[in-house]
Amino acid sequence: MLRNTREMWGGVAKILHWSAAAVVFAMLGLGLTMVHGDLGAGAKFEVYQLHKSTGFLVLAVTLVRGLWRIADPPPAPPAGIRPWEPPLARALHRGLYILILSMIASGWIMVSASPLPLPAHLPGGFAVPNLTGPNALLEARTKFVHEVVSKLLIAAIGLHVAAALKHHFAPIRHGPPAHAAIPS
């Protein structure tokens, strides 16, 4: 089933969820590697450019996913769930969207504001336009935001995964975890 039901996430939502997970994990991996990895200048350059290009893939997936989320209402919270859990889950899900969009925005602005002109390239060689002209101070600030938000995102993903695993392996007292996005 492609669309969500009252009990379960649909196929489209699941595919979008796991696509987002894949590209976000790839971005975190590339980002941590390029900043902290022991790379030569050439390899580091390649990873940076790949990270920047992949950032726009994350943007595309996140936008499609957000629109689908609005267009296709999510399943209702399962019966028997504790009353404080749905709002907490909603807050965390919104937080993940906000953090991911903040990463994209801060990354794009950082690249745009860099005094060294080096745009991201999409497949086909298309150079992504800059959002602003060179501005070293703006670059430094957005770089700081990008780094701090990346830590928050990692923490939020940790909570999200922990919560998902909890619902998967410790079913709610009065109901099955049938609505989970984890494929069974």
Binding site: L39, G40, A41, G42, K44, F45, E46, L116, P117, L118
Partner: protein, 218 residues
């Protein structure tokens, strides 16, 4: 590019006898000896018409390398793979020796195709507009038996500025396959040539090392 000049210095160092003959020759017999040596040398060098001889760079033994440091970035080291040059050496008067060396800017190689493309862009080498870099020597100054200071004009991005190079010389003049090897090192200030991108995060100092071997042209 730069290398060639060195040959003036290399030969000067490698064949001191030639120069001493010339300088010493005031008296008749000595003068004769000097002329003879010079003639012989000219014969060997196959440039009988004048005292200047041509030396040919061995591309397989030549490397035009550079490195540059940047803040928050590992040292970028690379080389230019495509170059051509001429060396003409005047054994009598090394200052008349000439080196002319061209490097194809697009042959830059820093072990990353993506970064190579970026360096070729208008941000750095702008190879579409300035395909070649050129070095033409202007003077050779002997330091000691194995070292020389070579000065010349470097043209990069259409700007010509003098640069200096320290050159170590190794000679292999025995046998029929006469060769001279050298290692030239110098620092180029890229801002002098209008290559300002990334400064000051990327250093203005480009460290250049050229190693080469040249053989006497038949």
């Amino acid at each position: 590019m730069l290398p060639i000049t060195i040959f003036g210095g290399a030969l000067l160092i490698a064949t001191p006898g030639i120069f001493s003959c010339r300088d010493a020759g005031v008296a008749g017999p000595m003068r004769k000896g000097a002329s003879f040596t010079r003639a012989l040398l000219a014969l060997i060098a196959a440039t009988a018409a004048q005292a200047r001889s041509s030396w040919k760079i061995d591309p397989s033994q030549t490397h035009v390398r550079f490195w540059v440091d940047a803040i928050g970035w590992p040292r970028t080291a690379g080389e230019f793979k495509s170059f051509e040059g001429r060396i003409d050496i005047d054994f009598d008067r090394p200052s008349r020796s000439r080196a002319d060396f061209r490097v194809a800017a697009k042959s830059v190689d820093v072990d990353s195709a993506t970064m190579d493309d970026y360096l070729r862009s208008e941000v750095f080498f702008n190879v579409a507009r300035f395909p070649d870099m050129r070095f033409v020597s202007t003077s050779v100054e002997k330091r000691d038996e194995h070292r020389a200071r070579v000065t010349g004009d470097l043209t990069m991005l259409g700007v010509t500025r003098p640069i200096g190079l320290d050159v170590e010389v190794a000679r292999k003049l025995a046998g029929t396959n006469k060769r001279v090897g050298f290692k030239a090192t110098g620092v180029i200030n890229r801002l002098d040539f209008g290559m300002n991108s990334g400064y000051p995060l990327i250093s203005d100092a480009i460290h250049l090392t050229v190693t080469t071997e040249a053989s006497a042209e038949p």
